[in-house]
Amino acid sequence: MSVPKDYRYTETHEWVRVEEDNVVAVGITDYAQEKLGDIVSVELPRVGDEVERGEAIGMIDSQKASSEVIAPVSGVVLEVNDLLNDDPSVINSDPYEEGWIARIEIEDMEQVDDLLGSDDYEELVGRLEEEE
């Protein structure tokens, strides 16, 4: 289970990577893709959408389940990963790089500080796996 150190995380298993000032990339974690299994379809947000932290901005369908992607931050969608329309399984094979979902422009970077650090997220996942 991989949890990159320089990423931030949510309790709903999204990740956030700061790309440049006021721009972050968003995706789902290795734990999330592993739990979902084979991802077969991804519903992406639209470029220009204003998104609110905590609301659904997309949907990921695996063979087993449909799962919402929750916006980890509030902002405007700058870009979406169109590659996922053709090959959604990229999220399975490379959740943190090629499998990114959207890039979001945010007003204040402080939102990012509210997210979980890698240690906290790792602990969360450890707890969840123990419960199983």
Partner: protein
Amino acid sequence: MDGAEPKKTALYGAHVRAGGRMVPFAGYWMPVQFEGINAEHLRVRSAVGLFDVSHMGEVVFRGPRAQDVVQRLLTNDVASPPSGKAIYSPACRPSGGIVDDLIAYKVAPDHFFLCVNAANRDKDVRWFVEQARGECEVSDRSDDYAQIAVQGPKAPDLLARVFGDGVKGMKPFTFTFLTHRSHEVLLATTGYTGERGGEVYLPNDAAESLWAELLERGQDLGVAPIGLGARDTLRLEMKYCLYGHDIDETTTPLEAGIGWTVKLDKGDFLGRDALLRQRESGLTRSLVAFVMEEKGVPRQGYRILVNDQVVGAVTSGAFSPSLGVPVGLGYVAKPHDAVGSVIGVDLKGLRTARARVVEPPLLRRSK
């Protein structure tokens, strides 16, 4: 079953060692996947896979009147087929609603072996005993048997290697008893995938060695264990009904499109009057197979719409690994259930995605 710790099949240890992801299912710890649902699915379509289906229930009917009792319980005809035949059939309530769908193995007119859905086992046994009215012995033997399904185009080769070349000549939906390593096993040419192969019923303590032997002797054929996830997508492509999803006590075999299992002229049976009436008055809805023409995976419970009106609901859905598109089953009101009809699947309010009703099975198999 609720709240109780799930039981383990005789192959539990083997699944865990093979990296199976174990989930509680119908009161058992069962592997939902090993290498991944899509890969496992395609392996069964192209080579051969092994399924642990030991959670399934086995109920034995014995006695001089066993055939009469089974004939009364099932909608299909078990009297005409010879001993050695496997017969797929629903069992219905007097209302025509489906108690369960099952395979009846006719050992002899005084001896039937029924394989029932795990989740229905207790309910079935109660119903069977009640309806048998003491005319024959009905015994729940589920805890005594393990069951291994061997499915795929290479399955006949693998079964022949393990059980002898004689099994290659077996016709579909027949069975035989064999002695294998001093254990008596029932080998049937049945399955739930649309592929060739069979299902082996055997004592629990013989399961692990047979499982290992099948894996070893089928290595060059590409054999691997397959989880319940791929079992579901495989049966879905064939439009085989899954109890609790596509059929239940509120649906009839006629509505579900398995009217060929209802033999109204075989004499009286449970549900006959209701089914006869339904056949005469005509159906108001039917279970259809559909292919998505827009993005989105249909799931059980999603509404089916035509012109913004609800005309039905999805009962099963998945991305078809063979076809490369999402597919589903669902009940649709007439006349929208006709092959070629365009329907909408309400993706939980996200949007409505277009789908088309198609002739089953979803996956056309070449012989």
